[in-house]
């Protein structure tokens, strides 16, 4: 039965339903949230970018962390697919390479939750391309 019998029930229902709106809601103010852009394109998809993206969704949800996960085209690092860009509010985006599903949780924990990029996976740390790996 869907009938709401008390104001408390309405509140509970709202809390439950809110999760379903989170993706759209967060899209209204992405700059205030961690943003994750997964590079698709032929090479990305072939390297399993779809699974990487699914893993980001699943792990963010599991940890109850808000973020905006979007897909983008090929980011020009075809040798290191899947590539993922992580941008924290007010920071330069950081580009990761070889982001297979098994390292997703590490990126979320270290970079998104604790502001500490996972150095070993970083390709470039800024849009201009400053490379900190070599």
């Amino acid at each position: 039965m869907t009938k709401v019998k008390s104001i408390e029930e309405l509140t509970a229902m709202r809390e439950r339903l809110r999760a379903g709106m989170a993706v759209r809601e967060n899209g209204n103010h992405p700059e205030e949230l961690p943003q994750v852009r997964v590079g698709m394109g032929e090479c990305g998809v072939a390297a399993g970018a779809k699974d990487t993206m699914r893993e980001f969704f699943a792990k963010l949800a599991e940890r109850g962390v808000s973020g905006v996960v979007t897909q983008t085209g090929c980011m020009g690092h075809c040798d290191a697919e899947p590539t993922v860009e992580v941008e924290m509010p007010g920071c330069e985006p950081v580009m990761y390479g070889n982001v297979t599903p098994d390292v997703v949780d590490e990126i979320i924990d270290s970079h998104i939750c604790h502001g500490e990029p996972v150095r070993r996976l970083v390709l470039t740390e800024s849009v201009v391309g400053r490379n900190i790996k070599s």
Partner: protein, 596 residues
């Protein structure tokens, strides 16, 4: 269970539906299913995004990609390229008129930047036929909050917010609720005025199409505050989509216990019925509206008594406009202080406008009170179409007036618009450019009001017709300077003596165009010319013999056989035969044909 990471929102408003948006939704869904993504990507049909100029709109969220003028054939490419491969479909992106470049997402569009969405908060964001999406966005939370408050306190909050009626009159909403509450009666009614009949206006219809639950919720709140247990929505049968969405919303609200007996176990009972209007402008006037709902002729009666005291079936009736209601839940949830912090000293909050006419971005917009006409027309509206010059903007529909260049920097609010010789009205805004003849504009509005007068009182029925006849005379080239005096006198009498605001305000477009464009009236009557070259009887096409090469093209295209001549010698137009269609001028390759 499905976990959607991407939403494809498609406008399902009346405008975009006319351009095949239902087929687009179906094609998008099909493409998503074919790609095996139906558990991850959700296609939703929403209400209006407001950017009607380039509809149908498809918006991909969360990256806010804004596709314009989408066709059903484009659906598979959007899914294949954008959703599967992460590549935006460039050719469908909005192009900024300033930079000529594709704009990647709606957050970078000049059209949206100055806007603030309170009444339209859910339009173009949620599925209007799904109560759960409304609830997820704090829907019915205001009702829940109110049901734990004393009605007097709620009314005090509405009063403190400074909200004024959005239906045209601008009456303080909280005060109206207070008056209705204080009348002693066993039975009271809440009425939502969704008649919206002025030319070019579609604010209320869009709210009902895009967020019908906000109206249901606000009406229930009003019922609790005023002591009414019954709500009536008066809506035109000619708005089938709005009617349908409202019917669905009411049924869902009953199912979820937001309408009906003992709402959320609080003991408060309230229900809503829909009443259909036949599409008469005068039935938007609240007393006429009530008569129409009672099954009587839709004619206004003298106020007082006001509906708040004696309305539907003689019971106290609180009549509010759709947009007025749409503002109520946010005020309850965010507080009067928040609302009162938006806008100008005496006009609080935002206003929705239907921007139409000669602007680049025709559409539905919501801006804080106090925004200037310049911002609305040039920033949001993107300026005048085809690089023409701005001439005037009509606000307040057929009851309002025109504003010109000198008013462009006036902050828009109830009082400023009145002081400038126009009015807020319900929110229609029609922009005119240098090619518009202001006498003809006045005539257009008057034709509308004469047609829509209910005929009950003489000044409106006969006086406005006389005004129209004079204008017809002037535009036909038979006007005299005495006619101009007569227009003014008659207009004053009509304003003073008509029974309802339809008649009282009908002369406004005439008076305000005379005030602002007096020279144009004088040119029509004294020089028998129409400076904008609009009035056919006052213009003539001519061929400049110095430029004409005698190619004969014009004589061949003229549908009236009015052009004659000898090859390689200047041609000429027989003015008695010319029907002033302008074809010759468009076709002449040498620019030899002009108009004066």
């Amino acid at each position: 269970m499905a976990h959607y990471h991407t939403y494809i929102l498609t406008c399902g408003g009346t405008g975009c539906r006319a351009s095949h948006s239902p087929q687009i939704v179906a094609a998008l869904q099909q493409a998503v299913d074919d790609a095996g993504l139906s558990d991850e990507v959700k296609v939703i049909r929403t209400g209006c995004f407001g950017f009607c100029e380039q509809g149908p709109i498809v918006k991909v969220v969360p990256d806010n990609t804004f596709y314009v003028s989408v066709k059903p054939e484009d659906a598979s490419e959007i899914v294949r390229e954008h959703i599967v491969m992460g590549r935006k479909v460039e050719r469908l992106l909005y192009i900024s008129p300033e930079t000529g470049k594709h704009v990647p997402d709606s957050r970078h569009m000049e059209f949206y930047k100055p806007q603030m969405r309170i009444a339209l908060r859910n339009c173009g964001f949620i599925d209007p036929e799904n109560i759960e999406e409304y609830i997820a966005r704090d829907g019915y939370a205001a009702l829940g909050k109110v049901l734990r408050m004393k009605p007097e306190d709620v009314i005090r909050e509405i009063m403190a917010s400074g909200l004024r009626g959005r239906g045209g009159g601008g009456f303080p909403t909280g005060l109206k609720w207070k008056i209705t509450r204080e009348v002693q009666a066993d039975c009271k009614y809440v009425v939502c005025n969704a008649d919206e009949g002025d030319p070019g206006a579609f604010m209320d219809r869009s709210i009902l199409e895009g967020d019908p639950h906000s109206i249901v919720e606000a009406m229930a709140i009003n019922g609790y505050c005023t002591g009414a247990s019954k709500g009536l929505v008066y809506i035109r049968a000619e708005y089938p989509l709005a009617v349908h969405r409202l019917q669905v919303a009411i049924a869902q609200a009953r199912e979820y216990g937001m309408l009906g007996d003992d709402i959320m176990g609080t003991g408060f009972s309230f229900d809503i019925e829909i009443r259909y209007g036949a599409g008469a402008f005068v039935c938007g006037e609240e007393t006429a509206l009530i008569h129409s709902m009672e099954g009587r002729r839709g004619e206004p009666t003298v106020k007082p008594p006001y509906p708040s005291e004696c309305g539907y079936k003689g019971a106290p009736t609180n009549v509010n406009n759709v947009e007025t209601f749409a503002n109520i839940p946010p005020i309850i949830l965010r507080g009067a202080e928040w609302f009162a912090s938006i806008g100008t000293e005496k006009s609080k909050g935002t206003k929705v406008f239907a921007l139409a006419g000669k602007v680049n971005n025709v559409g539905l917009i919501e801006v804080p009170m106090g925004t200037t006409l310049r911002e609305v027309i040039f920033d949001i509206g993107g300026g005048i179409k085809n690089g023409k010059r701005f001439k005037a903007v009509q606000t307040g529909g057929p009851s309002g007036g025109c504003l010109t260049e000198k008013h462009l920097d006036t902050p828009i609010d109830y009082d400023n618009l009145l002081a400038s010789g126009s009015m807020m009205g319900s929110g229609g805004m029609i922009v005119m450019d240098e090619d518009d003849c202001m006498v003809s504009v006045a005539k257009f509005y008057l034709e509308f009001t004469v047609e829509e007068s209910c005929g009950k009182c003489t000044p409106c029925r006969i006086g406005n017709r006389r005004l129209l006849e004079i204008l017809e005379r002037i535009t036909a080239g038979h006007g005299t300077e005495d006619d101009l005096k007569e227009l003014k006198n008659l207009a004053a009498v009509i304003k003073d003596t008509s029974l309802c605001a339809l008649g009282q305000t009908a002369p406004n477009p005439v008076l305000s165009t005379m005030e602002n464009f007096w020279d144009e009236y004088v040119a029509h009557v004294r020089d028998k010319s129409c400076p904008a070259h609009r009035c056919r009887d006052l213009m003539s096409y001519y061929i400049d013999p110095k430029i004409c090469k005698g190619c004969s093209l014009c004589s061949r295209v003229c549908p009236a056989n009015a052009i004659s001549g000898v090859l390689k010698q200047p041609y000429s137009i027989d003015q008695t035969a010319c029907i002033k269609c302008g074809t010759c001028m468009d076709k002449c390759k040498f620019g030899a044909i002009g108009v004066r």
